[in-house]
Amino acid sequence: MTTSGFTPAGAPDQAKNIEVDPEGTAKEASTERPEAWYSVIWSSKKARVGVITVGVFILIAIFAPWIAPHDPTDSSFAPLMGPSGSNWLGTTTNGQDVASQLVFGTRVSLIVGLFGGLIATVIALVIGMISGYAEGTWLDDVLTFVTNVALVIPVLPLIITLVAYSSTRGVTLIIFVIAITSWAGAARAKRAQIITLRNRDFVTAAKFSGEGTLRIVFREIMPNMTSLVAASFVGAATGAIGAEAGLAVLGLGDNNQVSWGTMLYQSNAQGAIAQGLFIWVFAPGLLLAILITAMCFVNFGVDLLSNPHLRED
């Protein structure tokens, strides 16, 4: 056992001194570092298209007053006009500018999507997480029971009741109603997810570190669910946008605001098809589909985070 032959220039002659070079480790380790979430999402062509499309809609929503040629509720134009220089897409039966309505409609859809998705996700998160973490206890039983009930209750009559009860029917109400009627499915998914995470050693380890239950749930486990949470947010937002339109189509929307849903509703109620105002009827539905599709595309990207199998290569 000799180390005599081992004398490279400047190298210490003690074998034990061959230590891991920390710099080196950091460098090589960086190759196994998970990709940043944004680059994962961006890597998907679909997600890219989705992000850009949604971005465009967001810009339109923000700059609606500058983009739209007119006030969407201004009914001073001649009704039933075809497309013209001043009314790019014609006017409604009430003499409102269709193009401006479409532009401003973006706002409602996006706001509903953002907040409806957010609230539903938060509810789902809290209930799903707590119930999943407490799996097998009475708390889980209670929360699962509530979730199950919420899952089977027919949404439409419930929404009608809720909406009918409030004297004001602003976007806030719509968001609220959508949120509280749509969290249950996501809560279930989160419960299932947390049950698998809960049995990971790092959770037990956190207990040994003296962490309390809530801290374990929200500080230890939740950060590991970001992709699921993100996916369920995008999903919930998508659902909320659709639901707003659906509500509006039933005549339960916020009629003080122009949204694509209320446009659909108004145009149908005013017999737009029969009067040949096709743009008025079909454009909002098409825009809705485009926006929701774009968001689904974003979700394709988000899916890649939690499910690397799906990554394109």
Binding site: M1, T2, T3, S4, G5, F6, T7, P8, A9, A11, A15, K16, I18, E19, V20, D21, P22, G24, T25, A26, K27, E28, A29, S30, T31, E32, R33, P34, E35, S39, V40, S43, R200, D201, F202, T204, A205, A206, K207, F208, S209, G210, E211, E220, P223, N224, T226, R311, E312, D313
Partner: protein
């Protein structure tokens, strides 16, 4: 003409979004009919990739970038899948690395035999059933399990079924990719015996992949050593044991010692393998090599033919073949000149005189499992008693399912015994662990900590090391802010993660397995516990890192006078670390006593079985002598 001839094969992974890497580079070797060849190398060295290339099952982003594969003289490198299909399984069959999952979970086992047999042979109907029974008997499984679903089989049985499947249509060549990884030592041993026996009987050729040189040496005629995508040494099994050429092979060989020896020592290869996406200058292994000479840093060594062997090492070549600078290389050494871990029998004697820290008294645990309407009772632990002293390491040894983890969770207060009691002798006198609730339990855990088996899952992937380590400090000691940071740095230093500032903000995925396990240990140390329960802390690590961790634990016992309960199914590591061994079989203690004594003179048959199961190069030398 060799059965398999691989010429200059290179495989590249070219993922769209990360750097391309060459996982297998310029690999040339051949295997003759009926030959048993072992392929070893540490994790990530490209063994599986090579196997997949050979099977032509590489999937995107992997592809064969160079070289060719000749099977029976036919070039199969670029055949299409359709052209390959008829010869698959007939020529080359396989058992996968993770073959726990390689059975279709939703169909019965027999059907999975049937489809391959019917596709490739003329057997039909009853004949197939008969053949399946025959195969089951061959691998020593009750043929009635042919009707079972995969999940109804134990891990060892699944693996044997896979083996049977691989042999179903009598292939000429079988690729075995770590067929026993993750299995219990005893089961592992049985399966490998099986493989060897069948190979002898049926004469098929085998390429056996493993990262465990012990098992490979045990079985193979010839060994291929792979490092960072290349073959670095090829030699007959007996000769490599006697005279390993490449320092890396020496390092792998050094990870075994004889547990019966008065003084055991094992070596380990420090550092991490290179980044495969970078083209290295000089020898790939040079940064980790204790024998390296100047030339290694500048020249990439080719695979030198040294006698009947081949090795990619300047030093070895110079030593054996002479040439310029031969004197710089010095004379050949058999062992790895790197860091080593030594255990003498002296140390243990002192440890066994410490004061009692934990006493386990007649503890039993029964689990009740509902399955449909029936309740199954599982006696996981039965009437177990032992004591653990300060400054002592007690090893709890037993095969899978013997109740080790159950005992650990009762000791740490996660579970409560159904009978008997566990007493902790802390500041407050002897206290019963099962009685701890809420705050008391938390308090107890500031004295008792746990090190988990899998360092990958016991660190939160979303948190930095600094956060992970500061939490117990904040919770138990109320240390926060700068003080906590200082303490965390100190802890990192204790577990030799130097310099600690570099590590404090890292995430677990930025560390190697060994480094991770150090962090896990550091976390356990944060609260300055009196007792550490380490549940198989090294079994998921590469052999070369194991010694590192053992050494760290050993240092701990000596420096901080803690008691460690070391749980393992591997008697060698028990011998390396522990002062006392408690052998557990089916929940019962079958034997216990000072480590060396138990290992030298095992009284119980079960202990002897465990001993036999230790895969070690030395058992081969014993056999071949």
């Amino acid at each position: 003409m060799p059965l398999l001839d691989m010429q200059h094969l290179s495989v590249r992974y070219e993922p769209k979004r990360s750097q391309a890497l060459t996982a297998v580079q310029d690999v040339t070797f051949s295997i003759g009919d009926g030959e048993f060849v072992g392929l070893i190398g540490e994790s990530g060295s490209g063994k599986t990739t090579l196997g997949m290339a050979l099977l032509r099952l590489l999937e995107r982003p992997g592809r064969i970038s160079d070289g060719k594969i000749l099977f029976n003289g036919n070039d199969i490198t670029h055949l299409s899948q359709d052209e390959l299909r008829p010869t698959r399984w007939r020529d080359v069959s396989t058992v996968f690395q993770s073959s726990m999952n390689s059975l279709n979970p939703v169909t019965r086992v027999e059907a999975q035999f049937r489809d391959v047999i019917e596709y490739h042979t003329k057997l039909r109907g009853e004949a197939v059933t008969r053949r399946v029974r025959e195969l089951f008997e061959m691998v020593i499984i009750d043929p009635k399990f042919a009707n079972a679903y995969p999940h109804e089989l134990s891990g060892g049985m699944k693996q044997r079924v896979n083996l049977a499947m691989a042999l179903a249509i009598e292939p000429r060549f079988v690729l075995l990719d770590e067929p026993t990884t993750g299995l219990d030592v005893v089961v592992q041993h049985e399966i490998l015996e099986n493989v060897r026996r069948l190979q002898r009987e049926q004469g098929f050729a085998v390429l056996f992949i493993s990262h465990d040189i012990g098992t490979v040496l045990n079985l193979s005629d010839r060994i291929l050593v792979m490092y960072a995508g290349r073959i670095v040494e090829e030699q007959g099994a007996d000769s490599i044991l006697r005279d390993p050429l490449h320092p890396y092979s020496k390092g792998l060989l050094g990870s075994y010692g004889d547990p019966r020896a008065e003084t055991v020592q094992i070596t380990y290869v420090p550092g991490r393998p290179p980044d495969l996406s970078q083209r290295p200058v000089g020898c790939n292994f040079a940064p980790r090599c204790p024998e390296r000479i100047e030339r290694c840093v500048t020249d990439d060594p080719p695979l030198f033919q040294i006698g009947s062997a081949r090795a990619a090492c300047h030093v070895a070549a110079l030593q054996r073949l002479g040439g310029d600078g031969a004197e710089e290389a010095g004379s050949p050494i058999r062992t790895f000149a790197g860091p080593k871990f030594v255990k003498t029998s002296e140390e243990s004697k002192a440890a066994l005189r410490g004061e009692v820290l934990l006493s386990v008294e007649n503890v039993s645990k029964v689990f009740e499992r509902r399955r449909g309407l029936k309740v199954h009772r599982v006696q996981a632990v039965q009437d177990v008693s032992f004591e653990l002293r300060r400054g002592e390491v007690a090893a709890l040894v037993g095969q899978s399912g013997s109740g080790k983890s159950t005992l650990a969770s009762m000791i740490t207060g996660v579970d409560t015994p159904t009978a008997g009691r566990i007493l902790f002798h802390g500041d407050g006198g002897a206290q019963e662990v099962a009685a701890f609730r809420g705050k008391n339990l938390r308090d107890y855990r500031s004295h008792v900590q746990m090190v988990f088996q899998d360092p990958y899952s016991s660190l939160n992937p979303a948190k930095t090391l600094g956060y992970t380590l500061s939490r117990p400090l904040a919770n138990y000691k109320g240390i926060k802010g700068d003080a906590a940071r200082a303490k965390v740095l100190e802890l990192l230093e204790t577990v030799a993660l130097n310099p600690p500032e570099r590590y404090i903000n890292r995430f677990a995925y930025e560390l190697s397995g060994g480094q991770r396990q150090r962090v896990v240990i550091a976390r356990a140390l944060a609260v300055e516990p009196e007792l550490i329960v380490a549940d198989e802390p090294i079994s998921s690590l590469d052999v070369s890192i194991r010694a590192e961790i053992l050494e760290l634990l050993n240092k701990l016992v000596h420096d901080s006078n803690v008691g460690i309960l070391y749980i393992t199914h591997d008697l060698l590591s028990a011998r390396m670390l522990s002062d006392e061994v408690i052998v557990l079989n089916q929940g019962q203690v079958v034997e216990s006593g000072p480590s060396l004594e138990v290992i030298r003179n095992p009284k119980d048959a079960y202990t002897r079985r465990l001993l036999e199961a230790i895969p070690s190069p030395d058992t081969r030398s014993a056999r071949t002598k």
